[in-house]
């Protein structure tokens, strides 16, 4: 039993060393295009190296203290770019780096910003963004127009956040999630004020609305095609929505907003990809987006938006189909400020309306602290 555990540990260490080598190569590739030197290749990067074991001991002694910070998600033993054993500290927010020591007991500290680490095979953190919630519901969850079923398909997106319009609390999402059905076409109806907004959306209840719950009523505002925002809102039904505006895995947010900046770290909570983080990659963007006239319908119009926010979306990991309507906030733990309303994208880029443009169009304010 012991030898089996020992072999397993050795294999894990070898795999970890190989992975770390790959990560280090990948991370440093832009700045250090040269191949590793022979001397670097000769360094034993396994636990058999006494220097590595010594660093592991230091790491073990300090891990508990380091992880007392909720934005620290892990520690490991690694190597610096110049081949010295080091302690790796995995953090969720770039701001945490400034609070960490550069050395611990003389061992260099390597900081890596990462998404929250989760068990593979179990999406997200275990918090479901598609399940029917017990009311009052939190936002960042699946939802949509109750009748969004046409042409053999049903449609939906994300109930993004809570806003206040003249004292009335409303769920904020996209025009194309709540009210894009503008032809009687495949379902003999168009979206109208007073129609129910459901949680979860039809796409998560096999297109059967009776398996979902009514949480709000649509206030049709027809932001598109005329305005420069893809937004809509729905008045909450008393008792059905958490009136603090709490968003799944984000919690409450700030009542104030913040403008986007290039490289700004952001996060969102959405129906499909759950809680994800990325960074702003472009500002003042002009983007053309084609819209359908109902679920799986024909093209209604192509809208050219200006002044939009672009966000990195490598392999669609930040935003994917069904996340539309998610609120993008700054990547801080407590009461983050809203940055934008996500509405479009591709497998490499995501697009958000600046939140102030959305709030201005709806004559609204964010519900928050």
């Amino acid at each position: 039993m012991r030898s089996r555990t020992g072999r397993l540990t050795a294999l894990l260490l070898l795999a970890a060393a190989a992975l770390l080598a790959l990560v280090m190569w990948g991370c440093s590739r832009e700045e250090s295009p040269l191949a590793p030197t022979v001397a670097q290749l000769d360094v034993d990067k396994s636990a058999a190296n006494p220097d590595v074991r010594a660093v592991m001991d230091v790491q073990d002694r300090h891990t508990q203290n380091l992880m007392a910070d909720p934005t620290v998600t892990g520690t490991a033993t690694t190597f610096t770019d110049d081949g010295r054993p080091a302690i790796m500290v995995l953090i969720l927010e770039e701001g945490t780096a400034a609070t960490l020591p550069q050395e611990i007991e003389g061992v260099p500290v390597v900081v890596v910003v990462t998404d929250r680490i989760v068990a593979m095979g179990k999406p997200g953190s275990g918090v479901s963004h598609v399940a029917k919630q017990t009311p009052p519901i939190q936002l960042g969850t699946s939802g949509g127009w109750r009748y969004d079923l046409a042409n053999g398909y049903c449609c939906g997106g994300t109930l993004g956040a809570l806003i206040s319009v003249g004292g009335q609390k409303r769920i904020l999402s996209n025009y194309h999630v709540f009210e894009a059905d503008i032809v009687s076409g495949g379902n003999s109806r168009v979206a109208a004020t007073g129609d129910f907004i459901i949680q979860p959306g039809l796409i998560d209840v096999s297109c059967n609305a009776s398996s979902a719950q009514n949480v709000a009523t649509l206030v049709k505002t027809s932001s598109l095609p005329g305005a420069n925002v893809d937004c809509s809102s729905a008045a909450i039904i008393s008792g059905m929505v958490n009136e603090s505006g709490a968003i799944l895995e984000i919690g409450t947010i700030s009542a104030s907003t913040v403008a986007a900046a290039v490289n700004q770290s952001v996060k969102k909570s959405g129906r499909t990809t759950g809680l994800t983080r990325s960074s702003v990659s472009g500002l003042n963007a002009t983007i053309s987006v084609a819209y359908e006239n109902e679920c799986a319908g024909g093209t209604a119009f192509t809208k050219t938006f200006t002044g939009q926010i672009l966000v990195s979306n490598k392999a669609g990991k930040f935003l994917a189909g069904g996340d539309s309507g998610s609120l993008m906030v700054e990547n801080v733990t407590t009461n983050p400020r809203a940055v934008g309303l996500l509405f479009a994208g591709s497998s490499s880029i995501a697009v958000a309306n600046p939140i102030n443009a959305v709030l201005s169009f709806l004559n609204a304010s964010m519900v928050g602290n």
Binding site: G152, C155, C207, V262, A285, L310, G321, A344, V351
Partner: protein, 83 residues
């Protein structure tokens, strides 16, 4: 010695004057203010597919401001439909 035009106008103004012409080009999905690899502002042109023809046809600077190219794929609303 290579010469580069020094920018005389703000990058947002330059982009605004060129955005219509750029958006009209085949394969362009968007135009924005982005950042070069060395951290300087650039006029970012998004392309459905970034080809060698685009690299040759598109300018590498506009009025002294660098142009960055990015393959965006097709940008579409991110609602979801299921059967």
């Amino acid at each position: 010695m290579p010469k580069r035009e020094a920018p005389r106008r703000a990058i947002n103004d330059v982009m605004a004057d060129h955005v219509q012409e750029l958006m009209a080009r085949d394969g362009v999905t968007g135009v924005a203010i982005g950042e070069t690899a060395d951290g300087n502002p650039c006029i970012l042109i998004l392309l459905r597919e970034l080809t060698e023809a685009h690299r040759l046809a598109l300018p590498d600077q506009l009025e002294g401001h660098p142009v960055c190219l990015f393959e965006s794929g097709e940008i579409r609303p991110l609602g979801r439909q299921d059967e």
